[in-house]
């Protein structure tokens, strides 16, 4: 993508009177990290980037904004938020619109067709000890990694993030402004991660997840980063009733993870953020993708494509599968 064009457009949008700020990606300060940038004026746009390192789904900031009590007589700032989105991120926006988490007129969506992100962990494994901010660029058939001024070509397969290998919607499904031409979509890879768990027998699956969930430290990062986990008051924090006790142990951790995954059934847009931020490296994406696969295959539904769609969990079809019913 043409970076000049991106910054130019962002500058125009950020300068608009009716725009509070623009959320985009900017170069990080360390290694392969990229930071979210909140751009309030045209000048700030110069910091923005769009590169294979921009894995973060910025849509989560739309609902993270805290609505602090306003002093009497003060009007809330109801200007729009502009947001840069990849394909997956745009689905989060669409799903938020379905759920009225945001109003369409309160966002300016800047679409970035996405050729696929690198997996920052793979990158770190391949090129460890990168402290200075590195850069990654797209080439026709892969990536160029630039570390300390040194360029290395790496094939696409080697570095492409799992969520991108599985991606079916690299182009934004919703946007007000589209940056550049749509990318050519690719055949999504078979979801080996989910298959592998599915192919285990029930005891093996139990053992697999017991090991995973036992590692959970209940930091709730997965919940907090998720663009679609935006209840002001999450049921998992509640005491009356207590769905999940606060103690960190296998039982409560499992209940927490079931509840989190279930609440995203038919809502998860597979951006993979939960798994990316998990400090315990729990393969949370598998839970979400398993449900997304069932929702797609059995119910013929994909969330986050149509802002006018009926929410999956608040709708039904008379012929929904019922082979599990006695």
């Amino acid at each position: 993508m043409d970076l000049e064009k991106l910054r130019e457009t962002a500058a125009e949008v950020a300068a608009r009177e009716d725009v509070k700020y623009l959320i985009g990606w900017k170069k990080g300060t360390y290694g392969y990290r990229v930071a979210p940038g909140f751009i309030e004026d045209a000048d700030g746009a110069a910091e923005l980037i769009f590169s294979p390192l921009c894995t973060a789904n910025l849509a989560t900031y739309l609902t993270l904004v805290e609505k602090l009590p306003l002093p009497r007589g003060e009007e809330p700032d109801d200007r729009k938020t502009a947001l840069m989105v990849k394909g997956c991120d745009s689905r989060a926006v669409a799903q938020l619109l379905v759920e009225k988490g945001i109003d369409r007129e309160n966002v300016v969506v800047i679409g970035c067709p996405c050729p696929g992100m690198v997996d920052p962990e793979l990158l770190a494994e391949k090129y460890p000890e990168t402290e200075e901010p590195a850069e990654v660029k797209w080439t026709d058939d892969g990536f160029i990694v630039i570390r300390d001024g040194e360029e290395t070509s790496v094939s696409r397969d080697e570095l492409l993030a799992e969520k991108c290998r599985l991606c079916r919607y690299p182009n934004p499904v919703i946007s007000d402004i589209m940056l550049g031409e749509p990318v050519e979509t690719w055949e999504p890879a078979e979801d080996e991660g989910v298959n592998e768990v599915e192919n285990k027998d029930v005891d093996e699956r139990e053992a697999y997840w017991e090991e995973q969930f036992s590692n959970c430290v209940r930091c709730y990062s997965c919940r907090n980063v998720c663009p679609l986990c935006y209840c002001q008051d999450c049921i998992l924090d509640r005491l009356n009733p207590t769905w999940v006790n606060r103690s960190v142990n296998f039982s409560e951790n499992t209940a927490f993870n079931i509840a989190r995954a279930f609440h995203l059934a038919g809502r998860c847009i597979e951006c993979g953020e939960c798994e990316r931020v998990c400090p315990a490296n729990i393969p949370l994406g598998k839970l979400n993708r398993k449900l997304a696969r069932e929702v797609r295959d059995k119910y013929g539904f994909e969330p986050g494509l149509d802002p006018e769609a009926e929410p999956f969990q608040a709708s039904y079809k008379p012929d929904d599968p019922e082979d599990f019913i006695l």
Binding site: K67, L68, E99, K100, P311, A314
Partner: protein, 666 residues
């Protein structure tokens, strides 16, 4: 709510129904030790007067504030005990029942097992009852008016009864005239009353009744609200005839450029009508209607130099500029009397209804034998050259009824008798004809029906037990192929005319009514009543009642009886002037609601709406429940990701402890 729960547990012996299997003393002892339980007692019959007194006295003397009754199903005696504790000064919703009879003592033989289970059920009830909240039933005013949809005999009767009771009644009829199917019938079984003679006075009454507003050629478009307060919107379709000016003289119809060209709906297509028409001579209102599809001017924009009807109408009533109008009004109750569709005989192609003109349906026979029908009451068939009287007539019953192959397992309940009646009428007109009736069974269950059936048999009408497999043509004759199953004789019966005793089907357009009024279908696809035995005219939607064949096939006396039943049910809220709203409704926690609207999408009663509230200076959208519409099903709450909408008495914080109590006792 702040008072510490003091629970009384009352264990019923139910004579020996419970006590012979459940060791009630052991259970009593166990219950006494449960947390928050102050008293536990057993008694032979808790529902009896002394049983109730026991509870009431404990409430007063021991200061109990929550009651668990372990006895029969709450579906049986919950109202009884609610009333009892209310009389003792407790909120009636501070009650939980443990079903240790239907779901314990009656289904488990082993005393040990049954006793253990009773303990668990009581524990779960105690866990829940402590957390129940006080609820108040509310009352709202009911609009003293009713809507009746459909003006066949059911709708007419219901409307007349409500209007006679002194309440405004809106009677909405889809077609240009009231009367419905009964108006098409010739004579009625078994008394052989002339159908029109007994119906037309009622038709006239309902048009002239001061309390009835008849909306003919109209359809209900929207229904909102709830019992006592329905908001109704009706579309009055354009007749293209000024209702007030039309004198019903009929000059327009006879002068119409396409006079008598179109199949008359009333005559089952056997007679003809003009583009401007009165469905039948006794139609009420006696006002002409232009069918826009057959009218040259309306369908093609041109009718000679100027439309003939306009030229000849002395009253100047023709108005091609007329448009559909909408009327809106409020009613307290609604009666659905939308009737049925006769089974379409084309769906049994083996009977050749589409191929052979002399294979006709029972409804067509009604018009054929009617003095006001297309042949003036003569039973005539065509032999290809001229109209002649048939010599050999066959009836086939159960066409489209009791027939899984067409999806109708049910009996249509009128065909046995109407074929017998029609056989009798043909016998009167054609004394020498050979008449036979093919039947599977003869069901003559009504008053005077068996007697009538006997009479018809004595009139030399042959009943042949067998369901014909096919009708085909041989020369000028129709051949009915069947087996006489009483003698196991295969038959090829040559006849001149076959009358198919078609059954009754749910109306093809009933889905619209289901959506408008939130009605369900029973397995036979007719409208579902609230209870097949005890609430046969009620529906699951409070304030909406059923009358006539829309609920299932019926003859005229049953239809009238149900219509009167529906009218009296509808009169309850109207006469009382108030309706009670269920207290166990959903409630929204507006501070945690995230405004996603899942609940709004889900609610089958449209009882939830999004409202904008100001929270610390921010305008936010939250869900709000209309308590009058909510039925307390709780479907909303299971979809609420933030648990912000909860049905009272079935809140998560009331159910989760039940689950825990059951699990903890493992």
């Amino acid at each position: 709510m702040t008072a510490k729960p003091k629970v009384g547990v009352y264990i019923c012996h139910c004579g020996i129904n419970i006590a012979s299997t459940v060791d009630v003393e052991t259970v009593e002892e166990y219950a006494q030790k449960l947390p928050n339980v102050k008293v536990a007692r057993t008694y032979s019959y808790m529902c009896s007067e002394p049983g109730q007194v026991l509870i009431k006295e404990d409430i007063k003397e021991q200061g109990l504030n929550r009651i668990v009754v372990a006895s029969c199903s709450p579906r049986m005696h919950e109202p009884t005990f609610r009333k009892a504790i209310q009389e003792a000064g407790l909120n009636p919703y501070f009650l939980e029942m443990a079903n240790i009879r239907e779901q314990c003592s009656w289904v488990h033989e082993d005393t040990g097992e049954a006793t253990e289970k009773a303990k668990k059920l009581i524990t779960a009830s105690v866990a829940k009852v402590r957390l129940l909240e006080a609820l108040e039933s509310k009352e709202v005013d009911a609009e003293p008016a009713a809507l009746v949809i459909g003006a066949g005999i059911a709708g007419i009767q219901a409307a007349l009864d409500i209007a006679d009771a002194g309440f405004k009644t809106y009677l909405v009829e889809k077609t240009p005239s009231v009367g419905g199917r009964m108006a098409q019938l010739d004579k009625t079984f078994p008394t052989l009353d002339c159908s029109a003679c007994i119906l037309t006075p009622k038709m006239v009454d309902c048009a002239s009744h001061p309390n009835i507003e008849l909306l003919s050629y109209s359809e209900v478009e929207e229904v909102g609200g709830y019992i006592g307060n329905f908001d109704v919107k009706v579309r009055k379709k354009a007749r293209y005839v000024d209702f007030d000016k039309c004198t019903g003289c009929g000059d327009c119809a006879s002068e119409c450029r396409v006079a008598d060209r179109f199949p008359s709906e009333f005559d089952q297509g056997m007679g003809k009508r003009s583009a401007i028409y009165l469905p039948f001579p006794q139609a009420v209102p006696a006002k002409y209607t232009i069918d826009p599809e057959s009218c040259l001017y309306l369908s093609r924009g041109k009718c000679g130099k100027s439309p003939k009807c306009q030229e000849v109408c002395g009253a100047g009533a023709i108005n091609f500029e007329q448009e559909d109008e909408f009327v809106e009004f409020k009613v307290g109750a609604i009666i659905v009397a939308t009737g049925f569709d006769p089974f379409d005989a084309s769906r049994k192609p083996e009977y050749g209804y589409d191929d052979y003109p002399n294979v006709i349906t029972g409804m067509e026979m009604e018009r054929l034998v009617s003095a006001s029908g297309p042949t003036g009451g003569k039973v005539l068939i065509s032999n290809g050259e001229e109209e002649i009287e048939p010599k050999e007539v066959a009836f086939i019953k159960c066409v489209g009824s009791r027939d899984e192959s067409v999806g109708n397992e049910y009996c249509s309940r009128v065909c046995c008798m109407y074929t017998a009646k029609q056989a009798h009428l043909i016998r009167e007109k054609l004394p020498d004809a050979n008449i036979r009736i093919y039947y599977m069974d003869v069901r003559a269950f009504g008053k005077g029906y068996e007697e009538f059936y006997d009479r018809v048999r004595r009139e030399n009408v042959r009943y042949i037990r067998g369901n014909p497999s096919e009708i085909f043509k041989r020369g000028n004759k129709l051949v009915v192929k069947a087996e006489d199953t009483l003698t196991s004789t295969p038959l090829e019966d040559e006849v001149d005319m076959v009358v198919l005793g078609v059954g009754l089907e749910p109306r093809a357009d009933m889905r619209k009514m289901m959506d408008l009024l939130r009605l369900s279908q029973s397995p036979d696809r007719f409208f579902l009543e609230a209870h097949p035995k005890l609430r046969p005219v009620d529906t699951a939607t409070d304030g909406v009642f059923l009358a006539g064949c829309c609920q299932g096939p019926k003859d005229i006396p049953d239809t009238v009886a149900q219509a009167k039943g529906a009218a009296s049910s509808a009169l309850i809220p109207l006469a009382r002037g108030k309706v009670t709203i269920d207290a166990q409704v959903a409630e929204v926690n507006e501070t945690t609601c995230r405004g996603c609207g899942f609940c709004v999408e889900i609610c089958p009663y449209s009882a939830i709406e999004m409202v904008t509230v100001n929270q610390f200076g921010h305008e936010v959208e939250v869900a709000r429940v209309n308590e009058a519409l909510c039925k307390g099903c709780g479907s909303c709450s299971a979809a609420c990701l933030s648990d912000s909408i909860q049905p009272k008495s079935f809140r998560d914080r009331q159910i989760l402890p039940q689950i825990a109590a059951l699990g903890a006792m493992k």
